[in-house]
Symmetry: C2
Subunit: 319 residues, 2 copies
Amino acid sequence: MAVYTEIGDDELEAFLGAYDIGGVLSLKGIAEGVENSNYFLQTERGRFILTLYEKRVAEGDLPFFLGLLDHLAARGVTCPSPVHGRDGAIVRRLAGRPAAIQTFLDGVSPKRPSAAHCGEAGAAMARLHRAGADFAPTRANALSLAGWAKLAAATAAAADGVQQGLRQAIADELAHLQAAWPKGLPEGVIHADMFPDNTLFVGERLTGVIDFYFACTDMYAYDVAVNLNAWCFEPDGSFNLTKGRALLHGYAAVRPLAANESAALPLLARGAALRFLLTRLYDWINRDPAALVRPKDPLQCLGWLRFHQHVEGAGDYGL
Amino acid sequence: MAVYTEIGDDELEAFLGAYDIGGVLSLKGIAEGVENSNYFLQTERGRFILTLYEKRVAEGDLPFFLGLLDHLAARGVTCPSPVHGRDGAIVRRLAGRPAAIQTFLDGVSPKRPSAAHCGEAGAAMARLHRAGADFAPTRANALSLAGWAKLAAATAAAADGVQQGLRQAIADELAHLQAAWPKGLPEGVIHADMFPDNTLFVGERLTGVIDFYFACTDMYAYDVAVNLNAWCFEPDGSFNLTKGRALLHGYAAVRPLAANESAALPLLARGAALRFLLTRLYDWINRDPAALVRPKDPLQCLGWLRFHQHVEGAGDYGL
């Protein structure tokens, strides 16, 4: 966030009065999360994250996101647990914005994940998929084929300014995926953005999965493919097979992949690489100089995509 | 800070290894402090603030600032206490920058201080002055007469673009203060920037004074005059006499003001108003669009200055 929303003393007191978490001891804006304003909140009863939802998160989606966390946390998934007010509500308003309080999770996001971190991430994703299987609400994945086509159109004019030939490379890949995108694979709630910076670890033990604001209903194996991109490439662009093996075996030990899911992994990984290539490219082209967070390099994802285009089967990822 | 310094996993572990505070449980960049990168650090032994000193704080001044905190905390002043490494050192390097760990203080900075807050602030300042009286190191106040003259010169060309006539108003005031600035008043360590956002309260109880990076050796009564500006004006520019009385009586109950200190208050308050007018004007003119913190309005300080120019004596402030 470029500028944190200022919260007045009185409105904070009134807001917290709706909860049974004691008086405020500390409130500090934290430099985390691009979409929202997040505050570290210490009260007499414990540590929490207070989130003000800024315009990039649709207010209508909040019941899905927060209801999902409530559902997953109740089933033992290590994710933030929304705090209910005395009236039972999870979302209320503060400083003119929708706001929610969630439990604080210990842990630090790994900057350079090890194979052990990858194995934990795979297992955590599988637990998330299993625990979410009986979550009734659904939310379409706005960043699948139709969303990619929109982003490809929105970035087409400027793409070659980022790298010569990028516009055509995106168009070709999108056409291929539109023709070949798998159907009929097992679906349910997926995280859809479980990058290392959306996980927390104490040492090599995973203590949290956070930032569910892209969660949606889609193929489980697509979520796994997102993680292959997010966790298993080195900064130099090479695929680390040891990490791939750790991630996939960590996942499969909790939720075995069906044959058609494994077979689809190379194609799904191409889709996932294109998804992050397109959103990063869009953010790069439209970057806000006042933003706290530097835009991520879209060309990193082009490297991932090039790798997947030459993969012959799930064995190449270590499965 | 526009962009937080990224701290690698390995360098953080190596850095914390120099302290006896246990392993890291959480590390989050906090949106506080314009001069430095601050992180909320939770370890197995407690809560801390980790600070990376960016270029605006001179590395040579750190022993003064941190030594002062060490001195004050040992004497019961509610300020952050620097954590010593096993080797006794307070400052070491992290991510290529000087870095230090301090204890975390509970409390929230009041957005709209009450008279009770003002009384606590006055008393805290007097305790700080008394506890610092036997702190041997000295540091000149870079933002007194000579510093104001430099800032007046640096802002002269653009001042009238902010408000017509501002350049002349500054020049006139500076000339007056250069001729009349008091000498011979009691001196010692002062905070020099004790605005409400540099204090912490739980309810109406002051739990901390923070951000000592303007601390220096100067007249105690000048520090009191800074606080009259910082705490006792309403957002509409009016001086709240109830707050002035609370602040001055809170101070005097701990450290009575000598007759020459009281008599000098109107002049010192003019100087303090000019100091913040000039630094805010400089920041306003040279504002960085990527900065997290919005520049503060310099014209607010011009209003303070106008008030002090018509004050007849310390009684007008409530003393």
